[in-house]
Amino acid sequence: MKIFRVITLAALSAFAGVLAIGAPQAQTKTPIKVGLIQPLSGPVAASGSYITNGARIATDRVNAKGGVLGRPLELVIEDNKSDPAETRNAAEKLIVRDKVPVIIGAWGSSMTLAMMPLAAQHGIPIVVETSSSGKITDPKTPGQKVVSRISPTSELEAVGAGALIPKLGMKKIGYMAVNTDWGRGAVAAFGEAFKKNGATIEGVEYVGQADTDFYAQLTKFKAAGVDSIVITDDAPKTAKMLQQMKELGLNVKVLVTGGSAWPDSIIQLAGPKAAEGAMFINFYNPYDHAMAGDPDASKAYVKEWKKRNLPWIGIVEGMRGFDAVNVVAKAIEAAKEPTAPKIMAALKRIEMRGLYGLIKFDQNGQSYCNIIVAQVKDGKYGVVAMTPSSKLWEMSAAK
């Protein structure tokens, strides 16, 4: 990964140089470092690269407007190789050598959980952009106090989408989930929501992070006679599962949780036939800016993503990196100085609109986002339902 990092840094510094011409007051000041840990190699590297690109777009946008506190932001990007142990190493390097005052990361729940105790030990705040295991914002988890999470928990997804279950006619469910903290957390959260809404879970099958063949699990579900399959996994594996369902002659309803897979990515990866009818829990819709918490930012983000010629299927994940950098920039601005304790305190008070929706953090460091249920209709993107983040905030306040 050295080569990758060197080239990334070279590209970034070249870009910062170009920007500096446009923003003279930011030019002379030393940049404020922001750590970003993502899987840039290994089985989930595609997702990590999308989020890194989203973060770059936000950083360049902040710097083009003159930076934060008159200084430019500088992303220090580390690769966690899709691995929890490597995530901890990356966090240690960012904290000890680069001395970053804040870290964004680290995609997978197991990866994020691995670095939390270390960040807490050094008092470095973490902005979590993707991970959705409930453990991360559970006060019993070591390191939870430094976490501010903009991505939803699986429980929140289940609340946002749970009301739909009887309407969708899902009765006998087979659950396919990736064998990580994310997958296991989602199975627990959705299992409860399904039971509450009158559906039964016939079986749960866990799959490895790098698996490509799901015939065994799907054959089992077919024999059990399920009418729906729920999937918690990334886009490429979800696409393969849908394809292999068709190959085995398994024609059932499909709901995909987690927000990594969305209609366009599955249409491209699995083909429109295998993707048809599948439903997805998403947090952002790049076709309808009015759905985002900040429509202007959404417009600018989509425009820039296209301008940079980035893969369209990654735009829904890239949004997480974009929002995370904007949250960090806003917190540093409010903190008045870029030090870890000040940023941590500022994050607790923050309230802003992002692509995720209304972003602010509850006492456990959790924000609530828009929950959109999207569907492949006639080979194209369609929306089934949406629960705005403001409604989830109202529901939680009423509780």
């Binding site: 080569i3 190699s41 490895g208 490509t212 063949d213 696409a239 085995l248 002659g249 299927i313």
Partner: protein, 291 residues
């Protein structure tokens, strides 16, 4: 009940055909040349990316693109042998092993830079509609991949056992000095064998890349399964690679189907441990074969 069992066994055979395919390049390089090739997965990955580039981006005919991709990986293999392994041939085994670890990291990151990490789908010319036999379903591309796997493995086996060049290869790796004395061009044999093994890895990558999808880290799983298949079948034994692959596939499929899919990989490896306790030389390996 019976239909489910038959489908599980069919799934396992299809999966196992893929594993045998992954393992065959390694059985030559690791089994016969005794190079612990940690870059095997990356040669596999290059085969898939060459196919993707030629067929999906370049518009070359699918079967021609497969052949060209295999030739490309053979060339990469020959270059690796000439530039790296030849200089390390007389070093202890861990030196070329470390070189191959480095190479695997370099290849994987080069692929990320060249093709970006998002997974690519190869829209192969086979119909996605499954062939149906009563309650049993199979898709054509997987049958094709399985058939090519068996043909390649049998072909490679006959080539090594029956041809003059094959005999020169076996002689070289049994006793390099003696082979050199009898007039074998040992350097060329080394380069050819590594290139041949790389070509087999590339062929499996191209075929399985078309069945599943193409991405830079795809070699990780392939390398793991390949070592399992090769060790299970017996080092350097081609029929062993077929049986080892099929056995692993069926064990994983039945294990996932009737025990738990969360332990799918564990079931395969428990099987390997049991097998090695019973037969340390592998299923088809000869006792005391070492160098």
């Amino acid at each position: 009940m019976l239909a489910e069992l038959v489908q599980h066994v069919v799934n396992g055979l299809i999966l196992g055909g893929g594993y045998a395919l992954m393992g065959m390049g390694l059985t030559l390089i690791f089994g016969i040349m005794r190079v612990v090739n940690f870059a095997h997965g990356e040669l596999f990955m290059l085969g898939a990316f060459f196919l993707y580039t030629l067929f999906s981006l370049g518009g070359v005919n699918f079967f021609a693109a497969c052949l060209l991709a295999v030739a490309g990986v053979a060339l990469v293999g020959a270059i690796v042998e000439r530039l790296i392994l030849r200089r390390l041939r007389d070093q202890p085994i861990e030196i070329p092993m470390l070189a191959m670890v480095a190479l695997s990291v370099i290849f994987q990151n080069a692929a990320i830079l060249l093709w970006d990490p998002s997974p690519k789908t190869v829209r192969h010319p086979f119909s996605p509609v499954p062939l149906t036999f009563g309650p049993i379903h199979v898709v054509a591309i997987r049958v094709f991949a399985g058939a090519v796997a068996v043909a390649l493995i049998v072909g490679a086996h006959l080539f090594i056992q029956r041809t003059r060049l094959g005999r020169a290869m076996r002689a070289t790796f049994q006793d390099t000095d003696m082979a050199r004395l009898t007039g074998v061009d040992v350097d060329r044999i080394y380069m050819f064998t590594f290139g041949f093994g790389a070509a087999l890895a590339g062929a499996s990558g191209a075929l399985l890349g078309a069945v599943f999808w193409v991405y830079p880290a795809m070699g990780d799983l392939a390398a793991l399964k390949s070592f399992a298949v090769v060790i299970m079948g017996g080092l350097g034994n081609f029929p062993g690679a077929i049986v080892g692959g099929l056995l692993l596939g069926v064990a994983e499929s039945l294990g996932a189907g009737y025990i738990s899919s969360g332990y799918k990989d564990a079931i395969g490896f428990v099987l390997i441990i049991l097998l090695l306790v019973w037969r340390p030389q592998g299923l088809f390996g000869k006792k005391g074969l070492s160098r």
